[in-house]
């Protein structure tokens, strides 16, 4: 029981950083938006506790992968928007690569993809 939970946590931890970076790759987003997008796009499978999201954002910001900035748009409240930095871009590319290799390996061993593979 606890083994599977640990795996779960590790997976999420490893993937969460990549998810966030992917979401802010093209445009800056604020925390609430990021949380919602992750929940919506994964159809509820990936759900962050806000308790984890913000500390994670701060940590990534400290590492220099993303950059947060207060933005005041007309007619809106001040919000903090995060965007991907150049350093973050490299990390994201590397992580995507790793995950791709990981998925490929999983697929070769356990055949987890639903679509027929071309190999």
């Amino acid at each position: 029981m606890s083994d599977s939970r640990i795996l779960d946590r590790e997976l999420k931890k490893g993937s969460a950083e990549m998810l966030i970076m992917a979401l802010v790759e093209d445009r800056a987003r604020h925390g609430y938006e990021i949380a919602k997008l992750i929940g919506d796009r994964s159809e509820g499978v990936l759900q962050f506790h806000t308790a984890s999201l913000y500390p994670l954002l701060y940590r990534m910001e400290k590492r220099g992968w993303i950059k947060g900035q207060w933005v005041e748009k007309a007619g809106q409240r001040r919000r903090r928007y995060y965007r991907l930095t150049a350093a973050g871009q490299k990390v994201l590319a590397a992580q995507r690569n790793t995950w791709q290799e990981f998925f490929a390996a999983l697929d070769r061993v356990a055949r987890i993809t639903t679509e027929p593979g071309d190999a």
Binding site: H30, A35, A51, Y54, R59, R78
Partner: protein, 902 residues
């Protein structure tokens, strides 16, 4: 409960995050961002048609676990220090679940945590360690002296059974015993296993072809049995070796055996030359055997002469006896008193007013130094108290800064006791490190002390850091750690988390903290004042002592001791010839203005004295006559030391014939015994049957120390008796030390086997006589200085703290128009108020405590107002300086910044 308005969400989040104590803009940003999140969720829910309550509920569901958020945020946001705290707390929760052996594991974790905390604050750690090292080191050093001198038993079996037996004197006090009395004591008492007699003597040895003098003791054959001392080589004395013909045997001290004979194992059984005779070495005593004093180098049998055996009035011997097992000192004293009374009745002429007094040897060795040592121990105790207070203050300041950490830890479930324990572990760790550093300080101090105190403490050579000192230091460290850490630990752990939150950035500013710190500062000032008063009184005593009229003019005067061996110089005549020739030769040396001899210099701890009777006056009953000091001197002695001739004349060559009966007396003797003030030409008797004619009156000198008044003094010509030894007194035209070699050469020209020793200038002799006072004064002054320094640091830190804490108040005052000088006055005024309170308390304490040191004072009362006023003013002045720096900082407060401070 939060409402829709964003401000409410902000407040809601802030309260929840406050325990993290992030502070400042960072906290504000996080609070705003999270509130924004809640607000957005709330609005989205409203947009979906939820009711306000439902919307609020959905928004709150975004943060189901604030504890988790706190944890995560603290990991992300906090500095390494607070992360450590969180980690330690984690360790604790883990340990408490395990129970049992977890206590030790937890202690190690706490220690590890404590170490890391200390390493991360090198400034704090250095100041605290230095303070503790000085405080504990001073205590360990003084304790090691107390240990060696007062506590460590004498190195003989059952030393508590060793007693000295004296004849008690009609004038009070104790004196040596005569042979017939000793024999009667031995015969009539049954409380001792034995009574041994001894008498000091000087011996000349040959060392590397040079004559040297050795301190020897004549002892009765049972001496070592009584002590319980066993030789490390050979044997002790045998019964019967105190009879003529068998007495040429010697037992060497380990010191002499090593120094003069290279620890030659084959020495026992061989003959060595000693004072012109051959003595057979029969044994060597181990280094611990140093009776009756550490200076003793050899022991030879004591042979009573027929004259000594016959004379009950000739009191010349010291004794040491061993109580029989089970016999108490009181029982022995009772029996000996009875014997004393019987002897008094049997021999009223010699024994009237005389009894018997027993003292424990162990007590006797230390009775003169005990008060000084205890006072010094008390003084260093005060120093440690101040050091403790300072460290407590530092810890309080640290604790205030660590409230964030404490808040996190209590948020994470640490109980109060748990926090107290962590803080105490840290402060005890600190004081242990301080104690270790203190031992290093102490080992230096002990080395310095044993040199300084060598002339003063009977057992100074034994002063060392033994296991007792280490145990003492360890215990002291634990106590110090607990005392210094308890107040801060309790203070912080009591702090209300809510309180901490409301205070926001201004951590640790509760009124209680302020009171505690102020109280500590007051205590420090009070303790410092007590020590300053003590030191001040000793300094004043010392100054008084130095201005005491010695009666001599020590400038350019050199002194050195010569002891003539009885074997070669067995008569007063032979000795007299030797001294006369030496004096003639020395007087002829260039640069010598006057030269003389005296058997005892002024300012010696011992003397030879007796009673005199004036012709024409009825003799007073024995014991009612003031004692007169007897001396043997040459005329040159008075000239060399500048002792004025007041009337009559000094000795002339004709007085030196052994048939002459002329004496010189001191002014005090004239005042005491000749009411009309005229003594020259009068006749007196002094211990002997012959009438002596007073030919001259000279000025008084202090015979037995600057604190002791001059006694009546009677000078015989140096040729009248054969003394044990004489001191040459040489007045030079320039630096007397330059004369040493020349004078020594002249002595050895007269007798090449004759060593000279105790070579000192007269000024050194005077300084030596007050070296105890100097040592006490120096040590207490050092401690008082240390105490003052620590107290000033304490005041400074409290005032700095108060200024920081009242920045806002100061800002408001300045905004309302207070000038910098007003602020300066305000802050300094507060500092001085604390100082004044401390001085007041300290003065009261000093008033009570200095009474204990009256025996160390000379010419000044323990309540001397001038001293109190002076040291108070001094303390006030340095406190003023300590307040000035923070006060200056306060005047630099920018009102705008101060108002925004929170």
């Amino acid at each position: 409960m939060p409402e829709g308005a964003k401000g409410e969400w902000v407040r809601f989040v802030r309260v929840r995050l406050a325990p993290l104590g992030l502070g400042g803009t960072r906290e504000a940003e996080i609070v705003e961002e999270l509130a924004e999140h809640l607000e957005a969720a709330y609005e989205d829910a409203l947009a979906l048609g939820r009711s306000e309550d439902e919307a609020r509920h959905e928004a709150l569901a975004q943060f189901p676990d604030w504890r988790l958020l706190e944890c995560e945020l603290s990991r992300t946001e906090h500095t390494a220090v607070t992360r450590l705290a969180a980690r330690a707390e984690g360790a604790f929760s883990h340990a408490s679940r395990n129970g049992g052996g977890a206590v030790l594991e937890q202690l190690f974790k706490d220690l590890g945590y404590g170490f890391r905390m200390l390493r991360r604050r090198p400034g704090f750690t250095a100041v605290a360690l230095l303070t503790l090292a000085l405080g504990i080191g001073a205590n360990s050093a003084i304790f090691s002296v107390v240990n060696a001198v007062l506590l460590r038993p004498l190195p003989y079996p059952e030393p508590e059974r060793l007693v000295s037996v004296y004849e008690s004197l009609p004038q009070g006090g104790t004196g040596s015993v005569s042979v017939p009395n000793l024999m009667d004591w031995r015969a009539q008492s049954d409380v001792f296993t034995g009574i041994a007699a001894y008498q000091y003597g000087d011996f000349n040895l040959q060392e590397q072809q040079q004559p040297v003098r050795a301190v020897g003791v004549y002892v009765s054959p049972n001496f070592f049995d009584v002590l319980g001392a066993t030789p490390e080589a050979g044997r002790a004395f045998l019964e019967g070796e105190d009879t003529d013909g068998r007495q040429r045997v010697v037992v060497l001290s380990d010191k002499l055996w090593r120094r003069a004979y290279g620890a030659d194992a084959g020495l026992v059984g061989r003959d060595i030359p000693l004072g012109g005779e051959k003595y057979t070495v029969v044994g060597v005593m181990p280094p611990s055997v140093q009776f009756p004093s550490p200076s003793v180098e050899l022991w030879v049998p004591l042979v009573f002469s027929d004259a000594q055996r016959a004379s009950r009035g000739q009191h010349a011997f010291n004794t040491v006896a061993r109580l029989k097992p089970g016999v108490s000192l009181e029982q022995a004293q009772e029996q000996m008193s009875t014997i004393g009374r019987i002897l008094e009745q049997q021999y009223p002429a010699q024994q009237e007013g005389r009894g018997v007094t027993l003292n424990l040897v162990q007590e006797e060795a230390v009775q003169y130094v005990r008060p000084a040592l205890l006072i010094l121990l008390g003084a260093v105790g005060f120093v440690l108290l101040i050091a403790c207070t300072n460290v407590a203050n530092l810890l309080l300041a640290r604790a205030a800064a660590r409230r964030k950490e404490v808040a996190i830890r209590s948020a994470l479930g640490a109980g109060r006791w748990r926090l107290v324990r962590q803080f105490l572990t840290e402060s005890v760790l600190l004081s242990f490190l301080g104690g270790a550093a203190g031992l290093v300080v102490a080992s230096w101090a002990v080395r310095a002390l044993s040199t300084l105190a060598a002339s003063y403490l009977a057992r100074a050579g034994e002063v060392s850091l033994d296991w007792r000192v280490v145990a003492f230091t360890t215990a002291l460290s634990v106590i110090t750690g607990v005392v210094a850490g308890l107040a801060p630990a309790l203070h912080v752990s009591r702090a209300d988390v809510q309180e901490t939150l409301k205070e926001s950035g201004n951590a640790g500013s509760s009124a209680r903290g302020t009171w505690m710190r102020s109280g500590l500062a007051v205590a420090e000032v009070a303790s410092a004042l007590v020590l300053l008063v003590g030191a001040g009184l000793l300094v004043k005593s010392f100054v008084r002592l130095q201005s005491v009229e010695t009666g001599v003019r020590p400038e350019n005067v050199l002194t050195m001791r010569v002891s003539l061996p009885a074997a070669r110089y067995d008569t007063a005549q032979k000795a007299g010839l030797f001294y006369r020739e030496v004096l003639e030769r020395v007087s002829a040396l260039p640069g010598v203005e006057a030269a003389g001899v005296i058997n005892l210099l002024p300012l010696q701890r011992y003397g030879t004295n007796g009673e005199i009777q004036v012709e024409g006056h009825d003799p007073l009953p024995p014991g009612r006559v003031p004692l007169t000091e007897y001396r043997l001197a040459s005329a040159g002695y008075f000239k060399a030391l500048g002792i004025p001739l007041l009337s009559g004349r000094l000795f002339e060559p004709g007085d030196e014939r052994d048939t002459a009966r002329n004496v010189v007396v001191s002014q005090t003797l004239v005042r005491t015994f000749f009411p009309d003030g005229v003594a020259v030409g009068k006749r007196i008797k002094a211990g002997g049957p012959d009438w002596l004619t007073v030919v001259g009156v000279v000025g008084d000198v202090r015979q037995s120390g600057l604190t002791q008044p001059s006694r009546p003094e009677l000078f015989f010509p140096y040729t009248a008796y054969r003394g044990d030894g004489m001191t040459l007194v040489v007045k030079g035209a320039g630096d007397p030390a330059d004369l040493t070699a020349a004078v020594r050469k002249e002595v050895q020209a007269v007798d090449p086997n004759q060593p000279v020793y105790n070579v000192r200038t007269m000024q050194e002799v005077i300084d030596l006589s007050i070296s105890n006072s100097r040592l006490n004064m120096t040590l207490l002054s050092i401690f008082a200085g240390l105490a003052t320094l620590l107290a000033v640091v304490g005041i400074y830190s409290v005032m700095s703290y108060l200024v920081t804490q009242h920045t806002r108040e100061i800002g408001i005052r300045m905004a309302l128009g207070a000038s910098p000088s007003n602020i300066l006055r305000l802050v300094i005024g507060q500092g001085l108020l604390l100082t004044a309170a401390g001085i007041g308390l300290g003065a009261l304490a000093a008033f009570g405590l200095t009474r204990l040191m009256s025996s160390l004072l000379y010419g000044v009362a323990g309540t001397d107002p001038a001293t109190y006023v002076l040291v108070s003013a001094l303390l006030l002045l340095v406190a003023l300086a300590a307040c000035y720096i923070p006060a200056r900082r306060a005047t630099k407060v920018d009102p705008l910044v101060a108002l925004r401070y929170e």
